[in-house]
Amino acid sequence: MKFEVILAGFGGQGILFAGNLLAQAGMEAGLHVTFLPVYGPEMRGGTCNCTVVLSDREIASPVVTRPSALLTMNRPSFEKFVPRLKHRGLAVVNRSLVPEALAEGFPDRKFLFIPADELAEEEGFPGLGNMAALGALVAVSRVVPPEKVLSGLKAILPPERAHLLEPNRRVFRRGYEFALKKASTASRR
Amino acid sequence: MKAFTFPQVLTDRSFHYCPGCHHGIAHRLLAEVLEELGVQERAYGVASIGCACFLYYYFDVDICEAPHGRACAAATGAKRARPELVVFTYQGDGDFAAIGLTESLHAAARGERITAIMINNTVYGMTGGQLSPTTLPGQRTTTTPEGRDPRVYGYPLKVAEILAGFPGVAFCARVAVNTPKRVREAKEALRKAFLAQIENRGFGYVEFLSACPVNWKLDAVRAAEKVNELTETFPLGVFRDEV
């Protein structure tokens, strides 16, 4: 098993946090992991992305050009990375900022559009759309057990943000459940 | 009654300094102070680049060489690594105040528990008498053959006056050694500059106005007299004393 995902969005959308958390969860699940943040002028503001590789074998390259999955939180990152996604690869897309119609140009990719920002807002934490999207990615890809993400949060959150542990978990669960429900309606059809 | 003795801190090697140079007197005072304070076995000296780079030939204490200008940084590292050491630098005016001004000022600003000795003879002695940051206006050097022109090179740097404004500095003085009285005062200043670190108060600094007969193109006696002229630009005295 080798799962390569690029997470991308605006700076401030929690992209690096979500990638870091996924890598932490993978490590806690006993997988080999690498986490590579974008490094460059893009670091301050603008777009932001990171690459996470999870594998049951030793990982050589942390750099991935054609990922097997994507998590895109905004339109520019959708446009930049979806063409690079492997055929039959999975893209979890933030419907709050990316119109679903954009997916029509890529019939050989799998898309899951999720109203990530709305779900987070409904929980009272509009800044945590990243967690809703990550919940959906974990639900659909099954790359790590969701409880490893929930436990991994503790390791990733700095002590001064410990009060955000529960909100993060709640929004993650919302995204996770949203994706499961959507998957089951899709299979009933 | 105390007989005249040779300081144990000095080795029996003869100084290589030119006739009339004041390094020898400063060396002797430094050796006496280290001995009288009982710190020979804890002393750590930094020999920087310049005429005094052979410090290790004359002092029977631990001595490390530092690149030109970096003595105060190297001394900082040694003192921070082993605070029990009594750490000093022995530098010229070019070393301390030109190439090493940044390291010198920052060590003083941090209040490093080190003692810095600057021998101010207004020229680069070892390299043959070029312009230094303390060269007087009008003074001829090999690189200012018509004399230092303030319109080109500005004015001499008064290091003791600068350091006097630093809260991290516990003792700061300018001394000369061209009269017996001044020699005695210089030794007292040196003693206090070491007490500043031994008593954990802060940075200690002593600036010696020092004759350089060869590069000043004067004989030993006239060079010693010329030090009096230097005091017009570089007044002697204690500029800060918290010891």
Partner: protein
């Protein structure tokens, strides 16, 4: 032992702490600030010294001063800061001080950029300052290795009374991987040269000025003898040598991308080996000589305009062909870029 997920820069700092590093001196520069930041948190807790200097010049001279007293001490920086330190590197080598320097290098020349680059290979292996001298240079390729090689650098530095450098880059410095911060058993060596105060012994001197007739020559010959003795520390990681017609070689973080390409090629049945120098000085000539003697050709892949390729050519000494695939700093290459080149090299060899 439970692994922790850390950046390469953090792993380097943790490796130094595991080695008993007592003093850290540094000056901020991207992309290595995690090292001083971790040291600022951890060293005081362990009775050590952390000091942010006014410049890299001051930092490396503080390192000189601390190392001269026999304590384990280090500094870290990135390319432009390392250039500024170069003057004192020459003195560290001349005074034979066991000090550790980390270069998390970035693109140059000049201010360059802040992306990963291997453009400082020459600077690291040839001695950046004046005179005939070398640092011992180690180059990790994973976060675990960054931890272990940093600790090892302290041991080797003391073994040879010799400054040692960890050469890595922004890619390894910024990526995260699991680290098992295991206890390491490091050897200790006598420090009968350290300046600790002349108690019960004559004063000691650490100096590099030798003006007497023949003194400096004798001094240089001693240093060169030491550098030759250091050759026994040369290390390389070699994979798939048995059936190889082409050996692809790279060091540091780039070697990860290269290894991926080699594995892609082998899955397709191409006879390709992988050689990664772990020590850059001394350079591990032996595997290159042996492979060349068997007629294996070489493809050297670098994140610069071609520097290590010169050491490969010197090792191979004309007995085989050596090709270069150079990626000047900007974007990182993909494994596919290297895979395509491997195929071309093999086709050209037929």
């Amino acid at each position: 032992m439970k692994p922790i997920l850390v950046k390469g820069s953090e792993a380097i700092a943790l490796g130094a702490l595991e080695a008993g590093c007592r003093c850290y001196f540094g000056y901020p520069i991207t992309p290595q600030n995690e090292i001083p930041e971790l040291m600022a948190r951890e060293l005081p807790k362990r009775g050590g010294v952390f000091l942010q200097a006014e410049s890299e010049l001051a930092a490396v001279n503080m390192l000189l001063g601390a190392a001269s007293t026999g304590v384990r001490a280090m500094t870290s920086s990135s390319s432009p800061g390392i250039s500024l330190m170069a003057e004192t590197f020459s003195y560290l080598a001349a005074l034979e001080l066991p000090a550790v320097v980390v270069n998390v290098s970035r693109g140059g020349p000049g201010l360059g950029g802040i992306e990963a680059s291997q453009g400082d290979y020459f600077q690291a292996t040839r001695g950046a300052g004046h005179g005939d001298y070398h640092f011992l240079v180690l180059s990790p390729a994973s976060i675990q290795e960054a931890y272990e090689l940093t600790a090892k650098a302290f041991e080797l530095a003391e073994k040879y009374r010799q400054p040692a450098m960890i050469l890595t880059d922004a890619l390894l410095g910024q990526m995260k991987e699991p680290l098992r911060p295991r206890k390491l058993r490091l050897k200790k060596y006598p420090k009968d040269w350290a300046l600790t105060g002349a108690k019960g012994r004559p004063g000691r001197t650490l100096r590099s000025l030798y003006l007497g007739p023949g003194e400096l020559r004798a001094r240089n010959e001693l240093l060169q003898k030491k550098y030759r003795a250091m050759r026994r520390e040369a290390r390389a990681k070699v994979l798939y040598a048995e059936d190889a017609e082409l050996a692809v070689t790279a060091f540091g973080s780039l070697s990860r991308i290269v290894k991926e390409a080699v594995e892609m090629a082998r899955e397709k049945g191409y006879p390709v080996a992988f050689v990664r120098p772990v020590t850059l000085f001394p350079f591990p000539e032996k595997p290159f000589r042996e492979l060349a003697a068997r007629g294996v050709r070489f493809l050297v892949v670098e994140l610069n305009c071609g520097q290590m390729v010169e050491d490969v050519r010197l090792s191979v000494c004309g007995r085989s062909e050596v090709e270069l695939q150079a990626f000047p700093p900007s974007d990182l290459p993909a494994p596919e870029d290297i895979y395509r080149r491997i195929k071309r090299c093999l086709a050209a060899g037929k």
